[in-house]
Symmetry: C2
Subunit: 363 residues, 2 copies
């Protein structure tokens, strides 16, 4: 069954049945000209992020479930980066009419599971079609009593990041460099059933089972693939009161830190040896002959938070976010001007706003 056998109205009915349950604050949900919500908190936050086939994702390297899951996470990451609480999602989808119904159903499964993690409700959107490439876009509304902007960093502030950097970019390299071969057993897969526990493992296996053998174990690639295909956004609620400025790392550390510096009119000094990277990323990048520092500084799609805070009190290294604990690492400090990276030998050099940019310019 393809979308052309179902039609827009019937798809809309299915979505309403699955997502139409009203939750707190929703006056009018899916199915009217606009959604109506009760504003909450002193400030309303709104963000939007679009994912375009062939640009943001390759449908042979991500499952529909993962695509739905990730779309929610990347938008939540923006609301978290303002110190906000996400609440309501609007979804725009434009899919080819030959898209299989099962693809759409799994996309919505991923969307639903991700929304549950963040306690977000679907309140509306727009169903469209596309001639060829698929486009999915979401707008997410939230609130914050005291939003944290990019512009609040002051010289002397410490620079912190959550989690590890470069895992997602390395996961993408694993996917891209491993050539799909039919019937080829890939990596060392964990035994089915035993010890997996989480349902998302099977989603990761769907992708990895399409790939040829790499000299890497499942335990090495799994966290990298997971960070790339099904990232969990970092909830800053336990450190947000200390943050003077914050941004989420979507295009790469150097470019996103440069953005924060631009807005705050300050400089930054980063210590490369302090940038947190995972053992798995180091192992996989060696196998893939990729520079782990480059992945960690300009790889993009980390969806970790970078924030600045005064040196006192120091931020404890491990805090509990909304979803599990998250590591916090101090990687440098805010200066009056300049953008300096200090390498492991203590040598200083200027870093540029390098990372992902649309329209093919890497600066």
């Amino acid at each position: 069954m393809q979308l052309s056998d179902i039609g827009e109205l019937s798809l809309l009915k299915t979505i309403r049945r699955r997502f139409g349950k009203k939750s707190k604050g929703i006056i009018v949900g899916i199915g009217d000209d606009a959604a109506v919500i009760k504003p909450q908190g002193k400030n309303t936050l709104i963000t939007t992020d679009m994912m375009v086939e062939g640009i943001h994702f390759d449908i042979s390297l991500i499952t529909p479930y993962q695509l739905g899951f990730k779309l929610v996470s990347v938008n939540v990451s923006d609301i978290y980066a303002m110190g906000g609480t996400p609440q309501y999602l609007l979804l725009d989808i434009a899919m080819n009419k030959n898209t299989e119904e099962s693809f759409v159903a799994r996309f919505f499964d991923g969307l639903r599971d991700s929304m549950r993690i963040y306690d977000v409700s679907l309140i509306g959107g727009d169903i469209s079609s596309s001639k060829k490439d698929m486009v999915v876009s979401a707008s997410l509304i939230g609130y914050a009593e005291k939003p944290v902007k990019r512009s609040g960093a002051r010289p002397g502030d410490k620079i912190y990041v959550t989690g590890n950097l470069g895992d997602s970019a390395c996961g993408l390299e694993v996917l891209k460099k491993a050539v799909p071969i039919k019937n080829s057993p890939s990596l060392t897969l964990p035994p089915r059933g035993g010890g997996m526990g989480r349902g998302d493992n099977s989603e990761l296996q769907i992708i990895i089972s399409k790939l040829s053998k790499l000299c890497l174990t499942w335990n090495t690639v799994k966290p990298l693939l997971k960070r790339h295909l099904m990232p969990i956004a970092r909830n800053p609620k336990d450190f947000v009161k200390h943050a003077t400025a914050m941004i989420d790392l979507s295009d790469g550390l150097f470019i996103d830190l440069s953005r924060l510096c631009d807005e705050s009119r300050v400089g930054a000094r980063i210590y490369i040896k302090h940038i947190p990277v995972s053992g798995q990323m180091k192992k996989a990048s060696a196998e893939l002959k990729t520079d782990p520092v480059k992945l960690a500084t300009s790889g993009g799609e980390d969806y970790e938070l970078l924030f600045t805070a005064p040196p006192h009190p120091p931020i404890p290294p491990l805090l509990r976010g909304g979803v599990g604990g998250v590591k916090i690492t101090c990687i440098g400090e805010i200066t009056k001007k300049g953008r300096v990276a200090v390498d492991k030998h203590g040598k200083e050099s200027a870093f540029k706003a390098e990372g992902y940019q649309h329209y093919g310019i890497q600066r």
Copy 2:
């Protein structure tokens, strides 16, 4: 100069320079992870509408200025259809990297002029790229003290529409059936300068000058093209207090009225002879050998409002909307059940939810 020569960061800077001026209620505008606004009124409204190249528009039949203009109007129409006031816009664009800078500049000119008409501010969005087809999408936030839903119609209510129906669909037929011929003078163009007054005339001429001669005058096709390419959304503020239910006509009278009936769990009786159609539409549809009734009932993209109101007091036929006066016509009444169209001979027949549906099903 193409987008690939400019890059995303530079495009973003241009957008910020043009649209970054803060207006009332905007705490954080373009350039942070999320926009921050002060909630206004008792209810926040939000809607989103996507326009996909090859599906919603053909780039040879619409100018970039018109595309930007229309994107705002179609979203405003949804906020108006809830009885709301539009305020803040978020824009998602995914354009091919070979897109000319001048195309993008004109798109933003159209966006700006349309936003001015409705007093809407750009507060954020997402710049992306696409492999081939362009996708533009907007999310619009507004507020309403008392939103008008689709579900409030009651048997005995009268059914009203604003403006004329079918002009937009007929305008599209003019564009589609007129074959583009190089150097062919098209239609009877008005003299340059004299008597045109409004800047948008030149935009309509850009499109029509690409088309071959039709046996129609400029005065006939102009309002049709304008309604299709640069629709103005109808502000219901002068009749909203009477409305029990409302919807904007985007996919066609029959399908959109059916949606309102579904939500209100009522039926409807429509008198074909009372459906307001323009003289220009009748003339052009005769020349194009197209059924004017079909255009008016299932053509779509009218962006007129359909609303229901108790029979007393009757709605005066001409009201001043936010932008010029707008005609109001009673076209039928809400019944307990059934969907009935009465033709000019008094013959009754059931109407179906016919109109535009994505994924190729016309029901």
